[in-house]
Amino acid sequence: MKTKIALLILFISGNLFAQEQKMTDAEIATFKQDVNVISKKIKTLSTDFVQYKHLDFLSKDIETSGKMVFKEPALLSWQYKKPYNYSIVFKNGKILINDEGKKSAVDIGNSKIFARINKLIIGSVSGNMFDDKEFTISYFKLKGQNLAKFIPKDVTLKKYIKQIELTFDKEEATVVQVKLLESSEDYTRIVLKNKVINAKIDDSIFTN
């Protein structure tokens, strides 16, 4: 009896807190249309971010933060400012790293996996990665937000990332959170805020 009551409570509270609701086909079409219209307009994008690394065995998430800048077609800079200075620039098939003043470069011209990761990061931030060939995608509604879950089809990519979840602001149709799941317990959650779209951004930002 006690177990039954416990199960019932669990069921009810589970339902109360389950905010995710599957989109209908019509809703999916509208949502994708909205995101595509916005992401096509994005020529430049800069945003602050806070990254939370969650490992299930730790008592607290590891928090780092900084600024991300993107410029069409494929210039990307991730700059961590707290608690350390580390920046990484994707530019012309190269990754340029500046680690507390220590500089290095990696040529990724021929690396398929890095090309894919680059595309993935840009896609995540701009929201435009609804590629059914690359991912199995499912769509959900939340309060004031939309959620798309991407499961990679590529075996190599799947080894690193089990699932990507992009949360969109419903009004603006832009990404507010990126969640990269390595397993059910461990993930990286990146919250984007103070987003500025199409401000003039000089190419010199993408040096390291």
Binding site: S59, P83, K159
Partner: protein, 211 residues
């Protein structure tokens, strides 16, 4: 007869030189009476602490960086994870004095020689208790020797302050691994450097406070 005596002497001299250089790890230290038989190292021993360090690895001229995370998950075992700055897990393992289990590793790092090296390094770094057999001193340190199979571990305590500042792992002939600690307080190291003498590998860990 005389010839063989000279040969014998030469061999003896040769042996003496070999033996002296064999004993090079402790040759500059003065033996001392043992004042304790066991030592506890507190730097990674608190099961309530998330040990999170920015890490820079230099291996044969190549630089790697990322985040090193260690946590004591039970009485005998630590969980250790390396991630990139982006948070991608590169290596995840569980290690105790006798066991070592890899939970996950990216294929680029999945090399036996590398895994064995890291296993030895982190077993030494995370080891909590050392049994002491001999004691030495030099100008700056009290040095405790702990035998560990065919290796010897030397623990260097500063004479000023009696803090563990260095651990040297050596064969009978020479030093193999040196770990140096820069301390935040008695129980916590804010910087750790693991230096290999026989291969070109250095691992530097710098503690960072999450926001």
């Amino acid at each position: 007869m005389q010839k063989s005596t000279i040969q014998f002497l030469l061999i003896n001299c040769f042996l003496a030189i070999v033996l002296v250089s064999c004993g090079s790890v402790t040759k500059n230290y003065t033996p001392k009476k043992l004042d304790k038989t066991s030592i506890e190292v507190p730097y990674f021993a608190n099961s309530r602490t998330d040990y999170v360090y920015k890490t820079n690895i230099t291996v044969y001229g190549h630089e790697l960086s990322g985040i090193f995370i260690a946590k004591k998950i039970n009485d005998t075992t630590h969980r250790v994870v390396f991630t990139t700055e982006f948070g991608n897990k590169l290596l995840d393992f569980e290690i105790s004095e006798k066991t070592f289990k890899v939970n996950s590793i990216v294929s680029e790092l999945d090399r036996k020689i590398l895994i064995n090296t890291l296993e030895e390094d982190f077993r030494l770094l995370l080891k909590k208790e050392y049994q002491i057999q001999e004691q030495f001193e030099n100008e700056y340190f009290d040095i405790y020797k702990s035998v560990d199979g065919d290796r010897d571990n030397y623990l260097f305590f500063s004479k000023k302050g009696q803090k563990l500042e260095k651990i040297v792992r050596a064969s009978k002939a020479k030093e193999k691994i040196t770990i140096t600690f820069t301390l935040e307080n008695d129980n916590f190291a804010k910087k750790v450097v693991i230096l290999h003498q026989n291969i070109k590998l250095t691992i530097e860990l710098n503690y960072f406070k999450s926001e």
